[in-house]
Amino acid sequence: MIVAEDLYKSFDGRPVLKGISAVFEPGTTHLIIGQSGAGKTVFLKCISGLYDVDQGQISYDGRVLQKLSKKERKKLRKEIGMLFQGGALFDSLNVEENIMFPLNMFSKMSTDEKRKRVDFCLDLVELSGNNKKATSELSGGMIKRVAIARAIVLNPKYLLCDEPNSGLDPRTAEVIDDLIHRITREFNITTIVNTHDMNSVLKIGDRINYLYDGKLEWTGDKDSILKTGNKRVNEFVFSMELTKRLKRDEN
């Protein structure tokens, strides 16, 4: 479980996070939604420890990130898998080498064991047989799937995803959503997904946190988001033509 308490973060005196508190439970897909500039990415980077918060604290199963020693922090980071917006695959390595990278750095597995683990992860993301492909040969959806495979190769307890669907067509985006949701449930991972894709919200949003101007504006799930009376959430949810029509039909 990840607990964020009263997080504040500013850049050059400009506040981005203004006291966000949230709880993220294992086996549940938590979505962070909000308009561009609401602070979603900064929030996720604070959670991952890439940014230090100005105020507040983040705890991972009782371990407060800010109070951990360098060694403990390093150990914790091995339990976190992160999927970046562009995939962040190492372009000098092929698919297999990218997924094997965390194993090479942190595990004492033999080469055969590592290969088996890579094959298992590739199978999980439905990319079996693509081991030797260069990253330049991959499509946008494949890049995201390889990045997911790399993020889960060390059996993480926490999975953080920053805009996993950005730049993907609706069908591929759905595949990525399903994959994240399935992995979360199957391996009981605490998953946080940053998104502004309403399809993801309605499909995999076990818990949804809506950020507005650096504050947590609303919390709920995929069923309650369409019925909420919160004006700002409604503005966001029904800004899409599809959801607008859905509401019109319901009325």
Partner: protein, 244 residues
Amino acid sequence: MIAELGKYTLFMYQVLKWPERWRVFWRQLMDEVDKLVLRSIPIVILISIFMGAVTSIQTAYNLTNPFIPMTMVGFTTATSSILEFSPTIISLILAGKVGSRIASEIGSMRINEQIDALEVMGINSSNFLLLPKLTAIVFFNPFIILISMFSAIVGGYIVAHLTGLYSPADYITGIRIDFKVFNIVYAMIKTVVFAFIISSVSGFMGYFVKGGATGLGKASTQAVVWSSIIIIIFNLILTQLLLS
């Protein structure tokens, strides 16, 4: 300026730590030796041959006094190549070739969030990315400079054969006049310091790149400009310290 110097010092403190995995480090080092050192050899040889040839022609052209022997051509070419042209000029050229490559490679990793990915995994990214490059250049650039010295001297010898401005025998004799081993040591010391400057300054510029493609281009240019400026300043300091 002072803030940047402090940032550079802290960055280098992280870079100069032991690698997390020696096996991975050796693999990276071999790769960097190939990319940054071995692939620079052809251009270094080409430039050095022409540098030596031009130095020889210019020296011969200026030797109008019959009391000065033509052996001075060989002496001047060898001495100037060993003391200055090979360690300094070639290092400046490598600052352009290798420095911009390091800055753009690390910078694009920053822009594409690959450095963030390393950090999230708990890897010291500055050490992981720069230490193999720095080690490759610092330990193997002296060999490039030795090749450059030899090539420059060969350049002068080729001129002797092709132009007849001076005889090859005079040239060979000139090379041997007043040869000091310390000159080579001095050149190697300079090379190692310059190699450290090229890799660390370029790595620093790339690591802290901001913005997209424009920022990357700016970082790449700044890497070459600052490396070159610092090299010429240290050239003066080292020459004063070691030769005066």
